[in-house]
Each structure stands twice: as C-alpha cells, then as structure tokens.
Symmetry: C2
Subunit: 129 residues, 2 copies
C-alpha cells in the first residue's frame, strides 16, 4: 500500500486532535447535528425526540454547549404554552463544520485502508474518491 511506511513515521498522524470532546461526545454530537439541520432552531421536545435523549440529559448537554458558546437557548410561549427554543450560534455552526472536517479525515483514512470495501456507505464513498 503506497505511503504506508511514510505514515508510520509521522507522529500524531492518527491523533485527530480536531475531535474535541465538546463536539465528539455522542449526545452532544446528536444535538449539534440536529440543530445544524434545522437552521431556525428546534423546540426542546422535538430536539429530545430527534436525539432520543431524556429531559435531564438534554438539559445537561445544552448547558455544556451553551457554556462553550455553541448553542443558544430561548424561553418563550407558543400557543400559550411555555416553550424552549434551541439553536446553534453562528460560531457554533462554524466550529461544528470544522469538527465535521476532522470526522471526514477519519472516514477518508478508513476508506484508504480498505481497497475491497466491505460496507455499503464506504463502498459508495470509495466510488466517488
């Protein structure tokens, strides 16, 4: 395989420093992906359902993401009922895309490592590479 010995010698080649824990933890990754796909934001209950999280876990993770400046949380009313609206901050959107870039490197490395793709998605990706 070309470049194999070269990659062995490159310290940190597979360290993936861009996979910050703030983004990489699965529950938070779910939340960020959901919000990235819904630019206007999502109500707390819709977000909870999309991510299959409990109330407590979602609240906790949202606090962490707010502290990190990635997410904003708004309290308000809709149809006379109190609601919570969550959405990405502009900075959160940019930083999430940077994180996703690093994920792309992981995927690309895995695709390179497997000439005979065994799985559907990897095969599809290899075909376009």
């Amino acid at each position: 395989m070309a470049g194999k010995n070269e990659s062995v010698r490159e310290p940190g080649r597979f360290a993936y420093d861009g996979l910050e824990r703030l983004f990489h933890e699965r529950a938070r990754l779910s939340i960020l992906s959901s919000l990235a796909a819904h630019a206007d934001g999502l109500l707390f209950n819709d977000l909870k359902s999309l991510c299959s999280l409990t109330d407590g876990n979602l609240s906790r993770q949202l606090s962490t993401l707010q502290e990190g400046g990635l997410v904003e949380v708004w309290k308000g009313f809709k149809k006379n009922r109190p609601q919570t609206l969550c959405r990405l901050t502009p900075q959160g959107r940019v930083r999430f895309l940077e994180y996703v870039n690093e994920l792309e490197h992981v995927v690309a490395d895995a695709v390179k490592s497997k000439p005979h793709a065994e799985s559907r998605a990897v095969r599809g990706r290899a075909a376009t590479a």
Copy 2:
C-alpha cells in the same frame, strides 16, 4: 429546505445509535484507524507515536479493545528486543467499518444542513455528492 419538517417528526433521527462508545472514544478511534491503515499490524511504539498517546493510556485502551474482540496483541522479539505487535482482528475490521458508516451519516447530515459550505473538506464532499 426539503425534508425539514419530516426529519423533525422522526424520533431518533439524529441519535446515531451506531456510534458505540467502544469505537467512538477518541483515543480508541485513533488506535483503530491506525491499525486499519496498517493491515500487518503495528509495533506498540509506532502505534503510540501515530496516536500521540502515553504508554499507560495506550496499554489501557488496547486492553479494552482486546476485551471487545477488536484487537489482538502479540508479544515477541525483533532484533533481539522484546516487542509488542498490535493488529485488528477480522471482526474488528468489519465492525470498525460499520462504525465508520455511521460517521459517514453524521458527515452527510452536516453537509446537507449547509448549502453554502464554509469549510474546505465539506465543500469537497458536497461537490461529489
């Protein structure tokens, strides 16, 4: 955006159940990616360097991956010095590719969510989609 309301109604749409912690934890993801890229296996010290891990952390993570049946660890000698060889098991390779498939979904969701790609890798991917 097409399909926006549809996705809101689909519970668990962004739960990414396939992102098992065994694979997703960053140090283990580094190890698995390194080993996937080196089919013959890697010596402990080369793996340590590629992943930018300490001896202790690499040992601990390798034990976890061994218990999960993903990695095998061999003790032996090379140039009269004791060495440790690490490599993926066949099952480890298949399951790692399944995990990478799920990562691809995360990346694809992020790409869909951003018509005007802000980052290089995401833009590259969008162009081939």
